[in-house]
Amino acid sequence: MVLDFGFMKSSFFLALRGIPVTLFITVMTLLISIPIAFAIAVARAGKKRKTLNLLFSVYVSAVRGTPVIVQILIIYTMLPDLLKFIIEKLALPFNVYAINNIFYAILIFSFSMIAFLSEVFRAGLRAVGRGQYEAALAAGLSGFRAYTRIIAPQAFSAVLPVLCTSVNNLIKTSSLCFAIAVNEITGIIRVAASRNLHFVEGFLVIAAIYVIICMAVELCFKILENKAKVHRVSA
């Protein structure tokens, strides 16, 4: 099988330019999603909020049940119209069409990440157990402090493996934003390969890059997990 290795080498260096974009999207999405998802998980952990719980269940079910590409297309079409509407109503001097697609991508991915992460954190909070919270209250800590100093750290340690999977899923999903013309790894190579039709080489390079990135993330999480082993939740 004859592969054009020269093209592979050149497209590899080309693709490197897309890595910062991927990382930027991933990091920004996580920065937005993790706090919001955690807040939702805490809110749902309280006992008497039936309507809130129902609303979020529907939201999570919708995100879980629809393909990401459909979410991308719908939100990408809807959001500018929505923004234009708000801007016109408030008469802000803002050009909707000047917004870089990257920010739409971040918003869209946050939309689905928040759903997944809220479920992850809910499981984590359940794993920590009510006893820890009661002990904190009995020792005089306020509810807020109890959460920030005792509950949240343990919930995080407990969900690290699943969190790793979620982050990797985010990285893989980010490959889809070539559909909205974002210049990340997949988009760059697709354009390059369409010129000389050496698709296979190009995609092999992309595949290799994603595998390396994901494995690096897994390694980081393994290190974190080892550090957190001491905080193991006791039965």
Partner: protein, 251 residues
């Protein structure tokens, strides 16, 4: 020092506490006995508002508090003056033994860190856990964890310490070390304690007052000698008989 009147608590349709009155004086060691489901743990948890009673009044020191409508400041007041030792220890898993003791001091009682550390060290010394002060709960045995739990409780210098079946989750060999510390606290330090337990030896030797609860009411209370030798109620006699049979049955 602490007096509860007319405490009632419903869980759904079940009336768990049916009008309980309790009086505790400074230096008292009150032991609450009773079959499971009698409401003894619930009563204890109502005192520091881990459960909110449906009816009842608490007089603590010079404050009178309505249990059902207690304000945040009143709850905080009670929690500052009491400490709780849990059946499952409930040590903060992500903190070392010393940090477990100092957390409540620094963030709950607003004591500066250095002072808190000194208090914590002294407390751990009293329970014999000073050499493991930077161990995490997952590295300690059950008995050791509970000792840290007690250190956490005494560090805050509370008026009353509430013990919820502190030895029920321990292996038999480890029960002795925890009971020993509790006895020392009662005898040497004169700590006021309310203890829910099944450990008869503790009740007989350390308690100043023994209370028997059944089905949400206090059936009998009195000094240990009177209680164990001349119980008045038939139900109390029944309960004591079954407990004593247990201790005689050790094959």
């Amino acid at each position: 020092m602490l007096e509860l009147t007319g405490v009632c608590k419903f869980f759904g349709k079940n009336e768990i506490l049916k009008g309980v009155n309790l009086k505790v004086d400074s230096g008292d060691v009150v032991v609450i006995l009773g079959p499971s489901g009698s409401g003894k743990t619930t009563l204890l948890r109502c005192i520091n508002f881990l459960e909110i009673a449906d009816k009842g009044t608490m007089v603590f020191g010079d404050k009178t508090i309505q249990l059902r409508r207690a304000k945040k400041s009143e709850v905080a007041f009670v929690r500052k003056k009491t400490s709780f030792v849990f059946q499952n220890y409930n040590l903060f898993n992500n903190k070392t033994a010393l940090e477990n003791v100092t957390e409540g001091l620094i963030y709950g009682r607003k004591i500066p860190a250095k002072e808190a550390r000194d208090i914590g060290v002294k407390a751990l010394e009293k329970v014999g856990m000073l050499d493991r002060s930077d161990f995490y709960p997952s590295q300690l045995s059950g008995g050791q964890q509970q000792r840290v739990g007690i250190a956490r409780a005494i560090a805050g210098n509370p008026d009353v310490i509430l013990f919820d079946e502190p030895t029920s989750a321990l292996d038999p060999e480890l029960i002795g070390e925890v009971l020993g510390i509790m006895k020392k606290l009662a005898a040497k330090e004169g700590t006021t304690m309310i203890v829910v337990t099944h450990e008869m030896s503790f009740a007989q030797s350390v308690a100043t007052k023994v209370i028997f609860m059944d089905s949400g009411v206090i059936l009998e209370e009195g000094e240990p000698r009177e209680f164990f030798v001349h119980p008045r109620h038939e139900r109390t006699k029944q309960f004591l008989r079954s407990i004593l049979y247990e201790t005689e049955y050790n094959i």
